[in-house]
């Protein structure tokens, strides 16, 4: 329990900073827009239409969309724009904050008493004097209500910034969801909700103060917010130079390997931070761009998704091909294979497979029409699935994506009959699953490979610290480590599992 809450202060600070910055940027854009909108009906229609449109994009997608946009922009200006982390999160969240502020501002300005505005004009106020002396103070309470809404939305949506590599309370939620550590999920949710309620209450006090014309109250509540932001700013910002950033995709094995790498680098004297829960498509780009320094990927994933290859040569040839491509195209160093493979392995409940007499994908093809297929969220979109499907002519009764842990649950409970399991997953043995053979060789090899960012190419100390991991992790060890995190009882944290794994390496 205490371990789950140990990371809360650090992540809370990052979360608050991100939400605060996004709210400020949203205000900077929305306020002038609201004034312009009240003066020109055309501007108002376009601005409100745009803000409403943004609101219809799911927040997760909006965050993800900024990654290619920023990559493209960065390429346009010759590099230097970070496509991951703080910037895309800030931009996406600011866009989200826009609508409530803009809408309340425009509505407030439109509903001002015309007599008051006529008096302001007749007294000889210029447009700007009217805005600052009359309109702004009268609209302030309505505007403040909009700012409160924006703040709560922003703090909520900021949990999703984890997926583009910005640390937030979402780190706890995503990691907890992946490893079925509900205490961790709860810690993230409670902290995010508490933050939202606290900020909302303070802004509510300010709103009350504005409406009652009690300046002291307004300044006191806003000052408290500012102090909170300043406190958050102190420890976590910015990362000191020389800090190594370790990337991880969003599943247990990746969390464990990231910690394993992190522990070794810490022992070698590096300061380490983690960017966990990265989308599979985002991770390699982040490495090539230098947003992260090191992470583990799988040869087949890069072979099919990044290199767009459809042929399936032997495992070693794929690793060599990936190494050459990564070096020449992106300057990325492939330090070596860790020694195990995490391939897609079609799996069924053992008793079910025996009863049906299914041992290979060929056997499966004949009966697939009666069987339900459960996958992880991305499998149905991946080229590997297209390859397997066309090689064996697979057509299931139904095919549904799940979070990986729930995919195993679906198979165990009988909701699904076949899953594309991961060959290094401890649950294959624990759940007594039958793995189906791939006689036609449609699924490429998925050797776990250690990839380093271009700037670590000449860093001998860095490479020396990690080289002992090459070829050192047999698949049985990895399965056991994964199972320690994934199992339902006596669960271990990825950090503990990484230490267990390191002990077994016999350094």
């Amino acid at each position: 329990m205490t371990a789950a809450f140990a990371r809360v202060p650090e992540l809370l600070a990052q979360h608050l900073l991100l939400a605060f910055a996004a709210l400020l940027l949203g205000l900077l854009v929305a306020l002038p827009l609201a004034v312009l909108s009240s003066r020109s009906r055309a501007v108002g229609r376009i601005a409100l239409g745009f803000a409403s449109l943004i609101q219809t994009i799911p927040s997760l997608a909006l965050l993800a969309l900024f990654y290619p946009i920023l990559l493209w922009l960065s390429a346009l200006v010759g590099g230097g724009i970070p496509a991951l982390g703080f910037l895309p999160s800030l931009l996406a969240l600011s866009l989200y904050a826009l609508l409530p502020i803009l809408r309340n501002g425009v509505t407030g300005l439109a509903n001002l008493d015309p007599a008051v505005l006529e008096a302001a004009d007749a007294m000889g106020m210029t447009r700007n004097q009217r805005l600052w002396l009359v309109e702004a103070p009268l609209v302030a309470p309505v505007l403040m209500a909009g700012i409160r809404t924006a703040a709560v939305w922003t703090i909520g949506a900021a949990t999703l910034s984890t997926t583009v590599g910005q640390p937030s309370l979402g780190d706890l939620i995503f990691a907890g969801l992946q490893t079925q550590n509900w205490t961790l999920v709860l810690a993230g949710c409670v902290a995010a909700a508490g933050l939202a309620l606290g900020v909302d209450a303070l802004l509510g006090l300010a709103e009350h103060g504005i409406a009652r014309r009690r300046r002291g109250l307004v300044w006191a509540s806003l000052a408290t917010l500012l102090v909170a932001a300043a406190v958050a700013l102190a420890p976590a910002w910015p990362a000191p130079r020389g800090t190594v950033t370790i990337g991880a995709k969003g599943f247990s094995e990746q969390y464990i390997l990231a910690r394993l790498i992190g522990h070794r680098l810490e022992d070698a004297g590096y300061a380490v931070r983690y960017r966990e829960g990265l989308g599979s498509a985002v991770a390699f780009g982040a490495l090539a761009a230098g947003d992260i320094d090191v992470y583990v990927d799988y040869s087949g994933t890069l072979w099919t998704n990044q290199m767009h290859r459809t042929d399936v040569p032997p495992r070693a040839a794929i690793v060599d091909g990936v190494a050459r491509w990564a070096k020449t195209r992106h300057g990325v160093i492939l330090l070596g294979s860790l020694g195990f493979e995490n391939a897609y392995a079609f799996a069924m409940r053992g008793d079910d497979a025996r009863r049906r007499g299914i041992r290979s994908l060929d056997d499966l093809a004949g009966q697939a029409g009666e069987l339900d297929f459960a996958t992880d969220v991305e499998f149905l979109e991946r080229p590997e699935w297209a390859a397997v499907r066309s090689a064996y002519g697979l057509a299931f009764k139904s095919a549904r994506p799940y979070q990986p842990t729930f995919m195993y649950r679906a198979l165990a409970s009988g909701e699904a009959d076949v899953i594309p399991a991961f060959s290094s997953d401890g649950r294959i043995a624990a759940d007594k699953l039958a793995i189906l053979a791939d006689p036609r060789g449609a699924i490429p090899g998925y050797d776990a490979i250690l990839l380093l960012a271009p700037r670590r190419a000449g860093d001998a100390r860095f490479q020396a610290a990690l080289r002992p991991l090459i070829g050192a992790i047999p698949v049985e060890k990895m399965r056991e480590a994964n199972y320690r995190v994934d199992r339902d009882t006596a669960k271990q944290s990825p950090d503990q599992a990484a230490r267990w794994l390191a002990d077994g390496l016999g350094r």
């Binding site: 015309p114 008051v116 505005l117 006529e118 008096a119 004009d121 007749a122 000889g124 002396l133």
Partner: protein
């Protein structure tokens, strides 16, 4: 302080609104300095529109308005308006400012830093307790609010006071009291005053000169005495007949 009362000249002023409605139709008129003029007419006769061409809340479609011989269009509207007092039916006090801040707003716009003494003087001028200065407008009665409106309009010693149905929302007793107060102020500080009203009795009792408007034109222009004597023509006679008849019936009741 004595003020420089100012003359107002309308030269062939017309105003056509979008949609083709002609609110004011070729009005030419001279209002001499120090005069109290009432502009009377039914709703939609164009009297408010004509009034607002003076401080450019409405810009005429044709013709021009001059104050002391200078065209009002010659300077930016906000500078023009700072030298013209304007009081209207809905008052438009700034609800987020105290009474004193409302009265002082014109002085503040003109760059005055210490308006307290002038504010007290203005509140006294409109017969309000200076202690009311600390209140918010919504804590005042309707009559008190309009007195604040007048004080605010007079803050910068404008010399010219435009009033658009200023007593329209008030009860008859308050209305009568405020009317007398305005008339007294007009004389005391030497204003030129143009009062728009639909109430002929009010116009007859307050003004030196009564203009009757109908369909955007001036249809009668006479002193109250001449109007009552029936020297101003048919349209004016019909309007004058109402208060005259009421006065006779009231007198008959008392006998």
């Amino acid at each position: 302080m004595p003020e420089q009362s100012r003359s107002v000249t309308f030269k062939n002023v017309s105003k056509t609104y979008a949609g083709g409605v002609k609110a004011v139709d070729g009005v030419s008129l001279e209002v001499s300095g120090g005069c109290f003029v009432a502009l009377v007419g039914a709703s939609g006769s164009g009297k408010s529109t004509l009034l607002k061409t003076v401080n450019r809340l409405v810009d005429p479609s044709a013709g021009e308005v001059l104050i002391d011989g200078a065209p009002v269009a010659a300077e930016p509207p906000h500078l023009l308006r700072r030298r013209i007092g304007y009081v209207f039916q809905n008052i438009g006090l700034f609800p987020h400012m105290t009474v004193a801040q409302n009265v002082a707003i014109g002085l503040k716009l003109a760059g005055e830093r210490e308006p307290a003494a002038r504010v007290a003087e203005l509140l006294a001028l409109v017969e309000l307790d200076p202690a009311l200065g600390a209140r918010m407008p919504d804590a005042l009665s309707g009559g008190q609010r309009q007195r604040v409106g007048v004080a605010r309009a007079l803050a910068c010693s404008p010399g010219l006071l435009l009033m658009d149905e200023p007593f329209g929302a008030l009860d008859p007793v308050t209305r009568d009291g405020l009317g007398k107060a305005i008339r007294a102020l007009h004389a005391r500080i030497g204003l030129t005053t143009i009062l728009v009203t639909h109430d002929m009795a009010e116009a007859l009792l307050l003004a030196d000169r009564v203009l009757v408007m109908a369909a955007g034109r001036i249809v009668a222009d006479a002193t109250p005495r001449d109007l009552l004597a029936g020297k101003a023509g048919g349209a004016a006679d019909a309007l004058v007949a109402v208060p005259r008849e009421q006065a006779r019936r009231l007198a008959a009741l008392g006998e």
